[in-house]
Subunit: 421 residues, 4 copies
């Protein structure tokens, strides 16, 4: 088996940490047990481009239990946990191609090595696998074999919808990101906690009393804002959508333009899925000592090339903290090279949250395996019944019991006759 | 002009309070100014069944400025502000039929008196107007004239969707409730604040430290939960939907069945839109001295007829507080006769929130007037551009400026090529 | 029996509301039961100057059960609940002199009528009774009889400490305000909830999204700030003490000078115990439509005389809302004539909080009765064991059980030998 | 120069991280600049037993700038940052004796090596230095030379007060912990953030939705509770003091006995300063998979010896996470061997908070140097003017301006004459 990882000897530590994650992923575990019996993925080859973390390892196990053959590369150059990669290779015999801190060239070589298995199904986190397939003329052999794919992130779904709108999408995709048990939880509670965690690990800064600017008030942004507020920050929201800006206002946050926020902020986090959200005109307005971090999928939200040009001096003052000294003498600190800070400087989303996201992945892959003949080359939602099922299993695993509607209540909801009494 | 109100002499006080509301409704005010010039409702008769509050009065003014002829009755027997009714009659010459504390019979008589104007358009808050029209054989003359209607509440929309599903809906309805500038704000921040306000006014109870049970974690429920938590309560959520139950859990609330909550709660609020949410089996488990309040549209969420039977003694101990002493000696306090507590014991939603909800009403009525020929007998959403426009106007009135996307950012969002760099 | 109240016929409503309060004051109720048996206040005459609310009525009952003879006047011209005054006179035969909305002259006449009983003990809320005694030459006959007094508020304690510092205090005072079971609860949770309640009742303004300025970050101020934040406001703190300003910052609030806050605020609340906190220079900077309210004891925190001069027009637009239109056309809304807004526009602190404050009052009066011969003319703290006892009773009444230290744990805490292991 | 550290080659990384801390400690930096000029500590030998972190390094620099000669050992076997120790030795020529993970024997040897410099002043964090001096008969030569000491923690102050009560304290101590600019900030915001940080780093657990038990509602406990709540947990407080239990209740937390909490909790944190707070009877009631962490100074709050006996199997599943499997099959996870989790698994308090704590240390040492002849063998508070000065400097460094009282306001506060107007 071909693979490219840092050090196979890290496998033991990785195995223990994967066990820890598995203990915290009861829904996925249950699915794994069923897969082991039913083998719904038998004979399928899956190419996965995901963050190589303990939670992803548990998903890989489950897919393997389901009968799939797997190859895995990283979906971000900085997010790989090398001990996990080692255990996946050694203990699970999965072909892994990923190294924490790999350069962009290696990153794309790894993608190609994963695609070399000639996958039936692709699993993406940011759509780099899909877009590589679509860009490559030479992989025309591949495209005819792929029966479907899944996509984990808001960013990836935006890219795939663009592809579909242009009529160029070559196979059906299930937008795992858009499952309620995914985006309402992973994007909000997962990104919220782990982004603040990543910033604290990188800087050991006190959040209380800081002016904490969050760019974007989507699901990720509101998660980050909520946790920053919970840690005692004064939160400022920057938005382009008037509805979200209004919600942020009534949620008790200060809302302003990026230019205004640039002058006031101490810590900045981007969560927009867009490019150059923090750029030249903003860098020049910032106070000495500000912290910049990105929680969006790609490292394009902060305009790093321009920051590189503006900085007359650059040095790494702490792990994951690069100091840029501008001509004015003011210092700007960029965290994790502008890559997903929760994966670069911390461990990404907690397993309890990924449990639901990856349950959606596993069930979506199974759905593709069973239904691919009926699917068109479009971006699909996760079927609602899967979503609801996952929520029920999760509640059960938490030991929480809820009510159900009485017959009379159901009838009342479907009638129109009874009014004011 | 025919009308039925408590006391015309209250008009002066009402007029001042309406002025106060108008000052807090800048978006509606702007629409009113345009209506006064364009007269888009000229010649139209509108029958409205809404809570007769200062905010509704401002909406009536705006519709009148637009050229409409109006008749108004209450959408709840306890929600009328008699001074507002007086001013509407005296100062605006609008036919109002509503009295705070009217009985159910009078309530429906008032509905009929309003329908007697032979309306072109109906405005509903709970769908009592629409359902009266649909029930009445004798009003067949009416149904052929109505060109469209609007509905303000979740409850009403549920009823109307049931009607539509059964193929019985006689004219098109715009579900104002489902506008984002409505339900995200009115149902959440409006109901949240005013429900807690209503409970405090009725009881002067300390919320801090109380076990505060919220039945239903929809938009209203999460508004109430958020504010109860903000006042220092320990909040318990009761739900039937697993996804919402899970959200409530991760939002930091205790989630349990109603039976379990019944034993622990000090204060209970229903926000479900369903019937008998708190019923016999729960009353019997409650602690001595509990408070029951309803924030859902109809007074059916708490099973009051059964409570009446269980109580061996009943007395009114404070305005809006009825004490039921059960056979066990335990006392249950029902607020505002189980009707919308924020309107029964307080003044309903603040004007700043109703500004958006009623801007949707005004613009939806205008939309019907202009487009009714193209509409089918279905429940429609508020057109998205209206929603967005209202959000923009509201932000502007608050003095909040936001960014817009650069060309490059727009292009990035519609591309799929650029990935990890 | 001499008395001066609004309408004796309100007694029935008052009696019910007092019963409601009593149900929420279990600690005071327990003390009342013991007093009824032990009669520790037998033969004592008590002059009380307190807010005439349902909770005060329960305290009066308890003192009467203890054997005292009582006369009561209001400690604020706007805080009297006339139905309570009626019930106290009719049902409890207590001499009450207070009318909601009385003018300042009547207010002081009432104080004199209360002092006419020639009290053994004074109970004060703001020290108006004590200071009247100390100012009056003609009451020299009185001063030799008073054996002690109590004071309920921060403001009053400040005044009494000033008296004591000048060596002029004529009899011992127990600073009930300084009991932990008083200021940590009443000033924080009580003032917090009831001030926000008073503002909402007076204005029906949406708190969410408002710029809410709190002047003073003492116990009252932080209570108000916490609740305003809990209702969704952006809170701004104005302080003169650097330590408190720093705490406010790390608690997540914006901290700035009054001049800066004057420009940004939508709603202003004073809680300083000092004079002219909001004054000419600030009025002139304010936005159109701002709301001013006071939660400090006296109506001097907002410089009303100057506001009267600045306003070229004044009218009452809602109950408890006076509109001042400045020369610039900008409008300032003053709530409750600048008097304690929680008592002017709402019902004051909830009974559950006053339960502890008034338990301190009752036990302090008993303490004076038993120990006055040992006391000097100083301001005393409430004895610690009373404080602790009240906390224990309160917890018990809430059904909350806590742990106690094991013997080993007590020993550990009193040793110094055991270190790092 | 004698020293005992892990690896001198780590100095470069340490130096950069110390620079990072210094950038975040503006108050201490200012003091350092003055010390460099005035040399107030010239000729003094200081023995310090503190957590060897970047912030402590900055304090050491300042003391050295002031003219002192220093020796430093760790105040906890797990809290040393080895790169910092290296830089202190190499770059600052300070005698450091500390290794991350040293055993208890080495720990005390290091203490003795530090005391071997024959200190004039001791700086303690937990009182291990002072108690070693007091226990040792053979160091009688030392005790006559020490002119004073400082103590950083609540735990240490409790031990020293016990010593003083027994009349055994050999020299004056300044309780730095009791400065308002210390305990209100460091114990609350510092311990709050860093404890939650430590738990997340060790476990990557989702805090949202967890039942998070905090033992002790002192300043540290309320900091931890506030941040756990801010991260979305349901917080349970265990207390022995009725007043604090009542505060916790009204702060919106569930309050219960440890036995009850043991059954419900998912994550437990001890912050009491006492011994065996979580013990046999509680271990046996816990759910499978619970997390135990300590944030109190010593590793005695969780009864680890008993846990060792109860566990039939023990293994380290992640760094800082030991899994104990009980006979029942249930697993208990102990973090950081029960030592201060914020220092064991994270970096301790943020520099911005330590800035104030260590400013108190530096100024207290200077105070001892200048005033030791006047001091008795007692535990002293930090002089109030130092406290206030530090708060002012900190505010200034944050760019926050506050008001000061007007003359009229000062006069008002010192008068008693002006009452209700």
């Amino acid at each position: 088996m071909n693979y490219d990882i840092k050090d196979i000897n890290l496998a033991k530590k990785g195995a223990l940490r994967i066990e820890w994650a598995r203990n915290n992923m009861p829904v996925l575990d249950l699915i794994g047990k069923r897969f082991a019996q039913e083998k719904p993925l038998k004979g399928l080859k899956i190419a996965a481009c995901l963050h190589v973390t303990t939670e992803t390892a548990v998903l890989m196990e489950v897919l393997k239990l389901g009968g799939a053959r797997l190859a895995l590369c990283a979906s971000n150059p900085l997010s790989t946990q090398d001990d996990v990669a080692a255990s996946l290779v050694k203990d699970l015999k999965i072909a892994v191609f990923s190294l924490k801190g790999e350069d962009t060239q290696t990153y794309y070589q790894h993608i190609k090595l994963v695609l070399a298995i000639n996958p039936d199904i692709t699993m993406d986190d940011g759509a780099d696998l899909v877009s590589t397939i679509h860009k490559a003329k030479q992989v025309s052999c591949i495209r005819y074999q792929v029966i479907g794919g899944t996509e984990e992130t808001t960013t990836g779904v935006i890219r795939l919808r663009a592809l579909a709108r242009q009529g160029k999408l070559l196979y059906p995709i299930i937008a795992v990101n858009d499952a309620q048990t995914k985006y309402l939880f992973d994007n909000r509670y997962g990104t919220g906690q782990s982004t603040v965690d990543g910033i604290i690990r990188a800087t050991n800064k006190l959040i209380a009393g800081a002016n904490f600017v969050v760019c974007g008030y989507g699901w990720c942004g509101r998660g980050v804002a909520l946790r920053a507020k919970g840690m005692g920050a004064q939160v400022i929201i920057v938005e382009v959508d008037p509805l979200r800006a209004l919600e942020a206002t009534l949620d008790g946050y200060a809302v302003m333009t990026m230019k205004e926020a640039a002058k006031q902020g101490d810590i900045f986090v981007t969560t927009t899925g867009d490019t150059r959200v923090i750029r030249r005109e903003h860098f020049l307005l910032m106070k000495d000592g500000v912290i910049l971090a990105n929680a969006g999928h790609f490292n394009v939200e902060i305009d790093i090339p321009t920051l590189e040009k503006l900085g007359k001096k650059k040095r790494r003052i702490r792990d994951f903290v690069d100091e840029y000294t501008l001509r004015s003498g003011r210092r700007i600190y960029l965290l994790g090279e502008g890559r997903l800070i929760n994966l670069a400087a911390a461990e990404g989303h907690p397993a309890q949250v990924m449990d639901m996201s990856f349950a959606n992945q596993a069930l979506s892959v199974e759905y593709i395996a069973k239904n691919y003949k009926k699917l068109e080359n479009k971006v699909y939602k996760v079927p609602e019944e899967l979503d609801r099922k996952i929520a029920e299993l999760k509640l059960k695993s938490l030991g929480i019991r809820i009510d159900s509607l009485t017959l009379q209540q159901k009838r009342y909801l479907s009638s129109w006759e009874v009014g004011t009494q």
